[in-house]
Symmetry: C2
Subunit: 161 residues, 2 copies
DNA sequence: TATTGTTATACTCTATAACTATA
DNA sequence: TATAGTTATAGAGTATAACAATA
């Protein structure tokens, strides 16, 4: 029996924690998308890699680990998964032969397009209660908030957990 | 070497995934707070429990698990931690003796106040780039977006991972 | 000497199943 | 028979450390 004051369906004291609802919203979005992507045989992280590669000629595994906040060792298996299915390909970077230049393939682009359509559906559903003006404001706000984070992240990477 | 088009310090294809920045913003907030709370000897989840209890007479462990999206078995140790430090107390609910009525103590309230001050600092720092108008819009938007989630959650609980 | 990618291993965290007591 | 809470265990996921190739 939830007594005490409530707000937005939550105990007031919890709803008033700055960022709590935002954190859970992020979690909800990810869970929803994880479910939607199952029929495609990929996880959210696979989709995010394809999303990065879709607008970049090539990226190194370290760069991608930095953007996804994943430990670089996890990128190995992740790219393995995609390469095995012919969704991306690794070549040695001729300018620095330690690096792998990862590039998306045509099949990868096709799967990316399908996955993005699903991601857009989830986004439209979750953010449904917002007017397009409000959604635009939120998206732009997140970009401004996270800009200093990414700038710092690309210099001194932090990882998950 | 990040080639291709960029937006907000990210590859365009990644920045344009609906909710990606929002998810990472939630993660960043949590990491920052986790660090700030270490001197108090608690984790974010402990703070969130105290936050709930601060505005509710009593709550059951199941209710709290539902709000925090944690498996109920995890609440046991969580409440143990707080009770051992005298921050909350368990009593049997006289109307349903299976339930534990969890209540915050005076010491718990004190620690909660200190933790919330830190949470507010983190929030002010992370959301610093936003005007107060924008921040208000974002917070209100999150409340509206998550309302149907909490309504559903309290009926058919889903857990993490 | 430092960095990218790789592999194997250890660790952390969480979920699962089984149990007690209450309903 | 179902539910709240508890416990121990198994499983998933992640980070750590060591290595090869290259800078």
């Amino acid at each position: 029996m939830a007594e005490g004051s409530m707000r937005d369906g939550l105990p007031e004291g919890l709803a008033s924690v700055t960022g709590f609802q935002l954190s859970k919203c992020g979690w909800w979005l990810e869970q929803r998308l994880e479910e939607e992507l199952k029929p495609l045989g990929i996880r959210v992280r696979h989709f995010l890699v394809l999303a990065m590669l879709s607008t970049s000629e090539t990226l190194s595994q370290q760069e991608m680990a930095g953007y996804l906040l994943l430990d670089p060792t996890l990128m190995v298996g992740l790219i393995d998964d995609l390469e095995t299915r012919g969704l991306c390909e690794r070549t040695r970077d001729p300018r620095d032969r330690r690096r792998h230049s990862v590039r998306i393939t045509e099949d990868g682009r096709d799967l990316h397009d399908r996955a993005r359509a699903l991601a857009d559906e989830v986004g439209a559903d979750v953010f449904g209660p917002l007017s397009s003006d409000e959604l635009r404001t939120v998206v732009k706000a997140m970009g401004r908030v996270m800009e200093p984070f990414w700038a710092e992240q690309m210099i001194r990477p932090r990882r998950k957990r």
